[in-house]
């Protein structure tokens, strides 16, 4: 039986990659991702993980090497954060468009400038259109489970897409949590060996990455879109099967004390844990407040969102990134778009907060909810408000 033990989340994520029997790890160090790749390098050095560890000279090369490894049929893993993810940006599009499944954990971190090693979701949001599956986790256990699920989802023949697992830098990567690492034999049962349909192989030559003229480019992109949309049902299937084997449930949007809630708060990642405590407090005070935790960011869970907000009057969305000059945080504007055609929809109030590692306390979430309810009643001069800023 798998036992629960105190583990640093980064170490546990590395262990999850090892349990998934990765063949190649290619990574470049960046805070706060470092402990993940250090641990993997150590596992390879000690012979515990049979894999090639490629200590590349940049994140651009890290992702490029992942593509090369995936193209020959290797199960591939990498991790990065912030500037690293941005340096990979153009390569990310190639990994998804050329249909290379791989798993990358992103230790969510703010983007420069000013340089900040601390957490927010600017990096994750900047790559939302790259065609990857993006899953946000809120604690170490979820990170471990979703690394394993990520391989299973991405490698499914109906999907064949790369998967990003987003875990907040420091708030998750550097904390020690009680984590249950699944047994290897159970993981082996859950995750079959990777068989890429047409790898680069002299026995059966293929041309990959051909020039796409106007007569075919649109069709390629459309095919990619359809597949990413389909990835949602496969993700649900995989999570269900994971639940059956390991007893832990995952869903695209998780609800916390939403029964009868007139006001809903929506968060992503590790801050959801504090938000839950805030909801408990407000419920205790007799307020009809519930929490939505958005886990699956790409493909976006439209139906699930419409279903869970249909009885609410107010939906307060917390973004941890700014879409500069735009209508608010990227998550909030997406949610507004998703609900626009609904006959009955809540008032949607956007907040931006928790930038560059700025904590939001339990009282802070309470403040956000109260201010959100007030804006819903009286309106605001702004498209969105930024929480806790000194003006």
């Amino acid at each position: 039986m798998a036992k629960r033990e105190g583990l640093e989340v980064s170490v546990a994520v590395g262990d999850a990659a090892m349990l998934s029997d990765v063949d190649v790890v290619s990574a470049y160090p960046i805070t706060p991702q470092t402990h993940i790749v250090e641990h993997l390098a150590e596992l390879v050095a000690n012979g515990e993980l049979k894999a090639a560890y490629i200590p590349v000279e940049s994140e651009h090369s890290a992702m490029s090497a992942c593509i090369g490894a995936s193209a020959v049929g290797a199960r591939t893993f990498t991790a990065t954060a912030a500037q690293g993810l941005e340096l990979m940006h153009e390569v990310l599009y190639v990994a998804s468009a050329m249909r290379f499944p791989m798993v990358m954990t992103v230790a969510n971190r703010a983007l420069s400038a000013p340089i900040s090693i601390w957490g927010d979701h600017s990096d994750a949001m900047a790559v939302r259109d790259t065609g990857w599956i993006q899953i946000f986790v809120e604690n170490g256990q979820e990170a471990v489970d979703n690394v394993i699920c990520g391989f299973r989802i991405g490698e499914d023949k109906r999907v064949l897409l790369p998967v990003m697992i987003h875990l907040d830098g420091f708030a998750l990567t550097h904390v020690i949590e009680p984590i249950e690492l699944p047994d290897k034999k159970d993981v082996d049962q859950f995750l079959p060996p990777f068989k890429y349909p047409l790898p680069l192989d002299p026995e059966k030559p293929v041309t990959m990455g051909a020039l796409g003229s106007p007569f075919i480019y649109t069709e390629v992109k459309w095919g990619q879109e359809i597949n990413l949309e389909k990835a949602k049902s496969v993700t649900l299937e995989v999570w269900q099967e994971f639940d059956k084997l390991f007893g832990r449930k995952y869903s695209p949007i998780e609800q916390y004390r939403t029964e009868g809630a007139k006001t809903l708060l929506l968060t992503m990642g590790s801050y959801s844990e504090t938000a839950m405590v805030a909801v408990d407090k407000m419920r205790g005070d007799g307020k009809e407040v519930g929490l939505l935790k958005l886990r699956l960011w790409r493909p976006f869970p439209y139906e699930e969102l419409r279903e869970v907000v249909k009885d609410a009057d107010t939906l307060i969305v917390l973004d941890r990134a700014i879409s500069f000059g735009g209508p608010g945080g990227p998550v909030c504007s997406e949610i507004k778009a998703a609900l626009y055609e609904e006959k009955k929809r809540p008032r949607i109030i956007g907040f931006v907060g928790g930038l560059g590692g700025r904590d939001i306390s339990m009282a802070g979430f309470e403040e956000i909810v109260n201010r959100g309810i007030e804006i819903a009643r009286t309106g605001s001069e702004r498209e969105f408000e930024i929480y806790g800023v000194r003006e």
């Binding site: 190649v24 049979k50 090639a52 990959m208």
Partner: protein, 314 residues
């Protein structure tokens, strides 16, 4: 097998790079790729950077490649090759693929190598991947319309280093990529030119058979960009070698060896005058180029310890 080249005057009929590609007429680079592919053989994976050879060989749904081939981006051929090589080795070690000694060969132009891809190349060489990197040097960004690169020679007029009243064209000397490769202490570095086809194929074969990283720098005449006659690619390449502008040599485990015995270099002017990109050069500039070429050539000869190795096999 990589040893498919055999016998004097006999060249393998193997054509991993098929005819029917869309290169310009007289393209020296397509010829270089064809010859290199013959020497590489069938048991290989080609990783191609964005550039002329990628565009002309892979307009979907056509392909010129009869062996596995992948193209992703401009600057990352060496990194993709690193991943493919490491992936193959890991899978073979774990028994997930049969051991077949597949060689990974990266192809990139001079821009993809000496400018935008230099970091990825340096990383891959330093890490010691067992692969071959071939730079197809036509001395400018030809695919995008003859813009200068750091491999463009001094004095050449390109669309972004145009000769004009205030400029002689390219004002910097060609970056010495083979020397940079040698500085990585890799087992094999060579220069080649399709005008010396057997020399080129021998070097590619040797690179493929060398364990660890090997780098081959191939001067590829581009009639379109160099503004020379389309039936002159072989002649112009030969002149580049005979004038000492592009010396043929190889460096095996740090040991330099000249590939041809050239008792006397031809004047650089013989080479420069074949091409429109040098048409504007004054006598003074030509003299400056001559001095530099002679000096650099002598340095190489000194490194090699003697003027030539094997006799020329044009």
């Amino acid at each position: 097998m990589a040893t498919a080249v055999h016998g004097p005057g006999v060249i393998t009929e193997l054509e991993p790079f098929a005819p029917g590609h869309r290169a310009c007429s007289g393209c020296g680079e397509a010829l270089a790729v064809r010859l290199a592919a013959k020497a590489i053989g069938n048991n290989a994976i080609i990783v191609n950077a964005t550039g002329c050879m990628e565009v002309v060989a892979s307009p979907f749904p056509y392909t010129s490649w009869r062996i596995p081939w992948i193209h992703t981006l401009f600057e990352n051929a060496a990194a993709v090759a690193s991943g493919a090589e490491a992936g193959l080795k890991a899978l073979e070690k774990k028994g997930k693929r049969p051991e077949r000694n597949i060689k990974v060969v990266a192809l990139a132009g001079d821009g993809g190598t000496s400018d935008i891809g230099l970091q990825a190349l340096s990383g891959a060489l330093e890490r010691g991947h067992d692969f071959v990197y071939i730079c197809l040097d036509n001395e400018a960004y030809m695919n995008t319309g003859i813009q200068r690169s750091s491999a463009t020679p001094y004095g050449a007029s390109t669309t972004t280093s145009p000769a004009g009243k205030e400029s002689l064209g390219q004002v910097t000397w060609k970056k010495n990529l083979p020397a940079i490769a040698v500085a990585h202490d890799i087992p094999y570095v060579a220069t080649a030119c399709p005008s010396y086809h057997r020399d080129l194929m021998r070097k590619v074969t040797k690179a493929v058979e060398t364990p660890g990283p090997a780098y081959i720098h191939i001067l590829s005449v581009c009639p379109t960009g160099w503004r020379c006659a389309t039936d002159d690619a072989i002649k112009v390449g030969r002149l580049a070698v005979r004038t000492g502008i592009f010396p043929l040599y190889e460096v095996t485990n740090g040991q330099y060896k000249m590939s041809l015995s050239l008792t006397k270099l031809e004047p650089v002017e013989n080479y420069l005058k074949t091409q429109g990109r040098f048409r504007h050069l004054t006598e003074d500039t030509i003299k400056e180029i001559q001095e530099r070429v002679t000096r650099e050539y002598n340095k190489l000869v000194e490194l090699a310890g003697k003027p030539g190795g094997e006799t020329s096999s044009e």
